[in-house]
């Protein structure tokens, strides 16, 4: 606890979030599983990134490692810097110095992410008081402001409501208010709308989008819903088996996907333009992370697979303005036998 007040080392003029070659490995007595593998990205002030992928692709783990919110069995390698602070080098006691104030998080299931025995107001006010050291009354006023900020109707009465008294949408708004209570610069949202029904989903997404712009926060969304990604993000990263397989601006990635997996995702999603057509599923299922195929992890399910794909994991290669894809098809190294250009090195 003595570390809490120690000044954190800050380097200026760095991007707000910078992740370099992050790998997260879970070690248990019987096996070692690398859940996140060599992930790199940066995020500028006010930018929204969406991590997209199916269950078990490592999106949540990637996001949680930004605030080291993983069980102690997790081992990190690589580097995570938030506003220049090296998160992985912080001592356990120093973590509370960045959690909440620099980086904060919204959870998927607002019912379980709010403490059932305290009212919404108590939970927000307690966090405010802990961080800002203000009086009870001031914290309560701030809690009320926050509930109004997230557009909870009759906010004054909702302050004294317990989580179980609120509807799913209101609960998620309260969760957002709690996450915003210490004015974070980076907001992490772990499938913030998955537990909500479709009509409420879009309201919450629009709210998040407008809050992000209004408060100038950087946001990282985790989702498996392409629609959500289009709605909220500036950039999108597609994850498969713990790696980024494609990364770029939302419009670029969704209009001309470079990786077969991204294409597969797009084809298996309902679009307005493709109404009436049959959806094309991606054949097969995601690989076991403890026993990945020797080459490209997507190769066993890929319609374009060929012998070269089994030779090794292709590097992320550039496909136009800032778009990266991890596939040998259509890359500048298309038919080359060995990778000649490692995009990550130039990031």
């Amino acid at each position: 606890m003595t570390h809490e007040n120690a000044p954190l080392p800050v380097e200026s003029a760095a991007p707000l979030v910078s992740v370099e070659n992050l790998s997260v490995t879970f070690r248990s007595p019987d096996k070692t599983v690398t859940v996140v593998n060599d992930v790199s990205f940066t995020l500028r002030e006010g930018e929204a990134l969406c991590l997209l992928g199916e269950s078990g692709s490592g999106k949540t783990v990637t996001m949680r490692s930004l605030m080291r919110l993983l069980p102690p069995t997790a081992h990190y390698t690589g580097r995570i810097r938030l506003r220049g602070i090296d998160v992985l080098a912080l001592k356990a006691g120093q973590l509370s110095g960045i959690r909440g104030s620099l980086v904060s998080m919204i959870f998927q299931e607002p019912m379980t992410a709010l403490d059932p025995v305290f009212t919404i107001g108590q939970q927000i006010a307690e966090t405010v008081r802990r961080h800002d050291g203000v009086s009870h009354a001031a914290a309560r006023t701030r809690a009320l402001d926050l509930l109004e900020l997230v557009q909870i109707p009759s906010a004054r009465r909702r302050l004294d409501a317990y989580p179980f008294e609120l509807s799913g949408g209101l609960r998620q708004r309260a969760m957002i208010a709690l996450a915003l209570s210490c004015r974070p610069r980076i907001l992490l949202a772990d499938e913030p709308t998955t537990a909500l029904d479709a009509t409420v989903q879009i309201q919450v997404l629009l709210l998040l989008r407008s809050l992000q712009r209004e408060l100038g926060m950087s946001t990282i969304f985790v989702t498996h819903d392409l629609g959500v990604a289009c709605e909220v993000a500036d950039r999108v990263a597609i994850m498969y088996a713990g790696r980024f397989v494609e990364h770029g601006a939302v419009d670029d990635v969704l209009t001309h996907a470079a990786h077969p997996y991204t294409e597969g995702l797009l084809h298996s999603t309902v679009h307005a333009e493709r109404q009436g057509g049959r959806l094309e599923p991606i054949a097969g299922s995601p690989p076991d992370l403890a026993a990945l195929p020797p080459g490209c992890s997507f190769e066993p399910r890929c319609v374009f697979a060929r012998a070269a794909c089994r030779a090794g994991m292709p590097p992320l290669s550039e496909r136009g303005a800032g778009q990266l894809a991890r596939c040998i098809r259509g890359s500048s190294i298309h038919e080359a036998s060995a990778p000649v250009y490692d995009a990550e090195a130039s990031l």
Binding site: E4, M67, R99, E126, H131, A161, Y162
Partner: protein, 298 residues
């Protein structure tokens, strides 16, 4: 957003936004509507009041013996509930005995709850080796049936109230620890603990704030159920001559002493047992009622 709600007709407002001290007032309302719990609470209250205040208000002598008026039936003038095998006033002895019996019911559970809850929360929250250490020690105590353990400990320490209290406390620590540990383990896995960490709360803050307030309910309900067990085991110890020693009035000891008179004066002989029975069943039913009244969130 605000415009939308204003345009909602009042009748369509969800019930939830009624001004809300609602959780506890809801608990109170549900309790008031539960006749069994209310009756049990009333009986316990009457017994508790009698045990605490009657000796202060009326001249009751539980020790005055008389060979002439032994085993008089209930209703004898001057002896509302009759007399025991040494001619002592049963009512006076039951009331004075209740003080000790109820104290033997509450005190060990109270102490064991404090110790057990602390150990259980530490074990549940810390996990790993700490959990292993604490819970395996508890398992050792758990291996013995509770009555046998209480008899063994107070047998080893010798008779006496203090030793009896100590034995009972030791008997109740493991089950309370186990309940606290399992509830804490569940709570710890909940997202709101992660959420608290994500807003920068320290481990101490999470335990004293979030874990304790969530764990307190189940532990207290469980402990309330143990009070009756404690009364029964305490009476059992006295019955076996290990707890309180004569002539001190205590329900279990009275039951033991009167059992030879069961054919001569059955009603008198059964009275202490009836008191033990009534008090324990009332405690059990009341803790059940409180549990279901508090349990809306699940």
């Amino acid at each position: 957003m605000t415009d939308q709600t204003l345009s909602l007709p009042l009748t369509e407002r969800p019930a939830a936004i009624r001004p809300s001290t609602s959780y506890w007032s809801g608990v109170r309302r549900r309790l008031a509507r539960d006749p069994v719990t209310m009756i049990c609470a009333a009986i316990l209250l009457v017994i508790l009041a009698a045990v605490i205040f009657a000796p202060l208000l009326f001249p009751l002598d539980p020790y005055k013996t008389s060979m002439i008026r032994r085993l008089k039936p209930p209703g004898t003038p001057g002896f509302l509930l009759g007399t025991d095998e040494l001619g002592r006033d049963m009512l006076a002895r039951l009331i004075h005995g209740g003080r000790l019996s109820l104290f033997m019911g509450f005190a060990p559970v109270l102490v064991a709850t404090c110790i057990g809850a602390t150990l259980g929360i530490i074990a549940g929250y810390a996990g790993g080796a700490v959990n292993m250490g604490i819970m395996r020690i508890m398992d050792v105590f758990y291996a013995f049936p509770s009555v046998l353990l209480a008899v063994a400990i107070s047998g080893a320490l010798g008779p006496g109230i203090i030793n009896g209290l100590f034995a009972l406390t030791l008997v109740f620590i493991p089950p309370i620890t186990r309940v606290a540990e399992s509830v804490t383990t569940q709570i710890r896995a909940q997202d709101f603990v992660d959420a608290a960490r994500a807003t920068g709360a320290s481990a101490t803050r999470i335990v004293t704030g979030h874990v304790l307030s969530n764990v307190a309910g189940p532990i207290l309900v469980y402990a309330a159920g143990l009070i009756s067990v404690s009364i029964i085991i305490a009476s059992g110890l006295s019955f076996l001559g290990l707890g309180v020693s004569p002539p001190t009035p205590e329900w279990g000891l009275m039951l033991s002493a009167m059992r030879q008179a069961i054919y001569v004066a059955p009603v008198n002989a059964v009275l202490p047992g009836a008191m033990i029975f009534i008090v324990s069943i009332c405690f059990n039913m009341m803790s059940d009622g409180v549990r279901s009244a508090m349990d809306v969130r699940a």
